[in-house]
Symmetry: C2
Subunit: 209 residues, 2 copies
């Protein structure tokens, strides 16, 4: 049995969706963000020293980091359906987009979040860097999803689960308006049955709404 | 033949070191940071739309993101020596540390870099968050490398190549003083022949020094 330590409004959404798609038995342990600070609660620190979510328990081991969990669950339960063959050219692209979602694209999104929270969102250097970086990254992604339902090989893969959380953050900020292909891609992901079940589960486990 | 688009003082150090360890034939294409802004030069944008480094060319394909490149090169050239078996418990830990290096640990380091560059490094909220987050992450890493030469299974793996760049950033800021096990681990990595060859190559390709 897999146990998912799930935090509302977090990267754990990626893992929740992946688990819904995999159809393996799993259990959700629900954690709630602090209503005032929006930070993760201490209950997560009791699970794993990083105090973050997602964390999964599987075969007596604990694993953190959503990118690692995505790759690991797919390796274990869906290597033939949710990732390209290891010896294909697409395998490298699969890894690239998994990392793009949490490294390249997440950086300006988190810089924006933290500088706004700190009240320094009007700093010229930061504002300029964030805007320029976001535009570069979103233009690239927009080109790559033109006419496609999925980012790698036009087939659902771990890379789509990873990108989905970025797209939700971006959509909340109204930041997808200029990127029609990304909007189309996000809508296509959101139309999948497993995605819709996931959003209902997330809502059920989010006490802030 | 593998071609590495290498930028001085960047995550490309991870890939350079991995290529030195793999012993596969490869070529370095050298790019230089802007002397004033320290940003990546336009020459990288001509290589890949993300305009970053590392980027590798292999079998007619381009791949970005240092985490993806690390996993891909190891899958292709050293699956039996530089990563745990896919069906072992350590495989999940291997993936976790690869992602930890570029996701969890990189976030406070980059927040610190960018807020200092923007002149808002004395903001109370940011200063507090960065210090707390760094301490949590480094304490965790410090515990995990106690008495070990390598982070996963006490055997050199892709996770060490990924962490090495974080350790270099941290050491430059004098941020490892309170973490004796991490210092010991960093020194052990730095003592490897392939690491030392890499640092000489980096120096030869860095026109700023």
């Amino acid at each position: 049995m897999i146990r998912l330590h799930h935090l509302n409004q977090s990267r754990s959404l990626r893992t929740l969706w992946l688990l819904e798609e995999l159809g393996q038995p799993y259990e959700i342990i629900s954690h709630q963000r602090d209503a005032k600070t929006h930070l993760a609660p201490d209950s997560l620190k009791a699970v794993h020293p990083l105090g973050k979510s997602p964390v999964i328990e599987m075969d007596g081991e604990l694993y953190a980091e959503s990118g690692a969990i995505t790759e690991l669950l797919i390796e274990r339960f869906a290597p033939d359906s949710l990732r390209p063959a290891v010896d294909s050219a697409d395998y490298g692209h699969y890894l690239q987009w998994i990392n793009f979602a949490e490294s390249s694209l997440m950086l300006p999104l988190l810089l924006e979040l933290f500088t706004n929270k700190a009240g320094v969102g009007d700093n010229d250097f930061l504002k300029g860097y964030i805007a320029q970086e976001k535009h570069k990254l979103l233009s690239y992604l927009n080109d790559k999803v033109a006419g496609k339902s999925f980012i790698v090989g036009n087939k659902l893969s771990g890379a789509d689960f990873m990108l989905s959380f970025d797209l939700i953050m971006l959509a909340k900020r109204g930041a997808l308006e200029d990127y029609a292909n990304i909007k189309q891609y996000a809508l296509q992901l959101a139309s999948l049955d497993s995605y819709q079940r996931t959003m209902r589960l997330e809502a059920n486990h989010d006490k802030s709404i």
